[in-house]
Subunit: 428 residues, 2 copies
């Protein structure tokens, strides 16, 4: 049996504790599979005294993750602290400098600093692996970079924020407003300390940016993700969508076309009979499309102690087996800087707006759409008690740019009150 | 850039041609990802003159796969010929003897001779990879052996024969008999030359035996798979199942319990709202359950040129990157010989039988079930014109052994005509 692979674990929250549990419980299994033992040399967290219900007495304790990262008895620095700057970044850089491999669950750090970190690691002959940063327990990074390595990837899609999917599913099931379900989810502890990370789509956009990079061989570019949260979705939108055979999902979509790289994280309508449409509650789903494989759908838990620790352990086992992957599937220096293509791929859209109830209002809206080159597939006006009439329109294929042109025009008509809502209908 | 990885491809059917196409089309992409070019040195097939619509002029031709396997200019022997003995086996053994790595799509060969081949390869320091042998384009071998390497795997399930799933789906959609849809599928070329490989569940059982081995660290044991095809399923079974909220699927299930390794490939009832229940047509689905990750569901094309070639290329890319996996996830010599546990895990069953229409018949059947310790959850007797009445029974949890005991008892009652049908209701 070869030398043990020695871990230094920075962060003893849910995920860190999950990793310690697996290493302790599955000693023999991991050694049999990797051909060498996996051991823990040292751990580090903010509080040493917090009761975590695990035995840490065999491991050295460090208060400072940078000190942990530099320890001579650590081969792999396991970063499960979180935060895209500060200690997590400092310690990851220190680990690379000290010649350690890195396994990280930190989507924010990698979505923002991934290119620089990958270049530094590869220059030092080290690896950075991040399966746990994307879609929790689903081994999607591995599927994309290794399993589908023979494919030109054509599109990547995913529902990658369980909290948002929970909220949208619950709104529909219980007929509750966004605000009511948001409060409920917050009280149940389903949302991040800063809920905007969830409902604003930021957390999911970090994941999408990482997936785009490994799918298309491009430098990770979080800033170019078109980002739209679920806060504007009403129960009425959900009902109307259902009526037309659709579900509303916070869907990430990345596509590389002749016009550049399009990355969107936004509410979308998807057919209710599709795997994405049928995804309920907190589960994640990623759809991978390649020229040879056609389409693969992966479904699993997107968060939680066990699933996230499972993903971290997968990376650790790869390193223990001597499988050394480049961070983003090909050498970081060969990753292209993709031109960001905003709204390049046309799609039908679902539009909701309030019209002032006077003759000719609908005609003015239809005219504005026509002027922007947008043709209408379906339109509905609803009964109403107040001065503004809710109107729903489903367009034929168009672009976000054309829609924005039309929306600007709406303002000059004087018949549209408030902001119109536009939700893309994604073909899945 | 490092030395090219040189392939010798044995078999130029659909899959072989697909591999050649990918290597030719994605030269630059593959080299960027693997850090070295992937090239083809030689190919081999039964007919040299057959028009395959690809340019093979740059590759040496061998008539004999054994000669191909031994060539000095071949690093990886790619076996996509098929057949569990004869040339495929001879050539695979020759490749290992000659110090080549092997990538195989041959489920039958590996399900039957996998242990011996893996031991030989590992003794020679060579790898055998077989992603394409299980569930086509879905990277499930990789997900299990690598992505979930930190998990104690608790259960593996799958719909892994697209033809059977097509037949069952089509029976339900079109209201046709098994025989009618079988003929239709056969005429459309959906079935193997020997259809029993498909509808008898043998092909899917090969895949299940391979999955069991990598899931549980046991020696591949195809002979112990409890095998039951779809030939006895009637349109009435499908309708009754639907009525109770179930679909009938040819489902493979492998579980390692205290009593041993249970491997079943048989028609099962699954909830119609579950991912497995919703799987329609020729698509494959594999469900992986582990103690940390809980449950992962993978869905994708189970056959076809592109998907199967995609899986083969994934293995080739791993080898090109220097990722050397043991065949079954841990050294072949450490794989345990599992005791085969037949029907160890109890489940509710759906029973269908014909009773002679005379007073007390139903009571006799109920009594026989009771004597075998089987309690009845639901029972239905249908209107009928002839002398035998169709009766459906859903039992509470029981075992196949108890059912067989009851069925033997049925014979002595003199009221059951023909063979009763028992379909397991699998919790998914």
């Amino acid at each position: 049996m070869s030398e043990p692979l020695r871990l230094g674990i920075a962060g003893l929250g849910t995920v860190g504790v999950g990793i310690v549990r697996i290493v302790q419980k599955h000693q023999a299994l991991l050694a049999a599979r990797a051909g060498r033992p996996i051991t823990i040399s040292a751990v580090c967290a903010r509080s040493r005294t917090k009761n975590r219900d695990i035995d840490l007495s065999d491991y050295a304790w460090e208060d400072d993750p940078v000190a942990l990262a530099k320890r001579d008895d650590v081969d792999v620095f396991v970063e499960v602290m979180g935060g895209h700057d500060g200690p997590a970044k400092d310690a990851t850089e220190a680990a690379i400098d000290a010649g350690k491999d890195v396994v990280s669950a930190n989507k924010a750090l990698l979505a923002i600093h991934g290119q620089a970190l990958a270049e530094a690691a590869e220059a030092a002959g080290r690896v950075i692996r991040f399966e746990a940063a994307v879609a929790g327990g689903i081994p999607v990074v591995k599927a994309l970079t290794e399993g589908l390595a023979g494919n030109d990837i054509t599109r990547v899609m995913g529902v990658m924020n369980g909290s948002c999917n929970y909220i949208l599913t619950r709104m529909e099931d219980a007929g509750l407003s966004y605000e009511a379900v948001f409060d409920e989810a917050n009280q149940l502890g389903y949302l991040e300390a800063d809920p905007e990370l969830d409902v604003g789509g930021i957390d999911a956009a970090h994941k999408l940016a990482l997936l785009s990079s490994i799918a298309f061989g491009t430098q990770v570019d979080f800033d170019s993700v078109e980002l739209d949260g679920i806060g504007a979705i009403t129960i009425e939108d959900i009902r109307q969508a259902a009526d037309m055979g659709f579900k509303i999902k916070l869907l990430g979509v990345a596509q590389l076309t002749g016009r550049g790289l399009e990355q969107r994280m936004s509410p979308c309508l998807v057919p209710d009979t599709s795997p994405l449409g049928r995804l309920e509650g907190g589960t994640n789903m990623v759809v991978l499309e390649g020229d040879a494989v056609n389409q693969i759908v992966l479904r699993g838990p997107g968060a939680g102690e066990g699933p996230t620790a499972s993903a971290v352990m997968g990376d650790i086992m790869d390193i223990a087996r001597g499988h050394r992957m480049t961070t983003f599937g090909q050498p970081a220096k060969t990753l292209r800087k993709a031109r960001a293509a905003r709204a390049a791929v046309p799609a039908p859209y679902y539009l909701r707006m309030q019209l002032i109830d006077k003759p000719g209002a609908l005609a003015k809206v239809a005219h504005a759409l026509g002027e922007a080159g947008i043709s209408i597939d379906r339109m509905r006006q609803y009964g109403h008690d107040d001065a503004a009439a809710p109107v729903l329109i489903v367009t034929h294929k168009t672009t976000r740019t054309a829609l924005e042109e039309a929306f600007a025009d709406f303002n000059t008509t004087g018949v549209v009150t408030g902001d119109p809502v536009a939700i893309r209908i994604e073909a899945v």
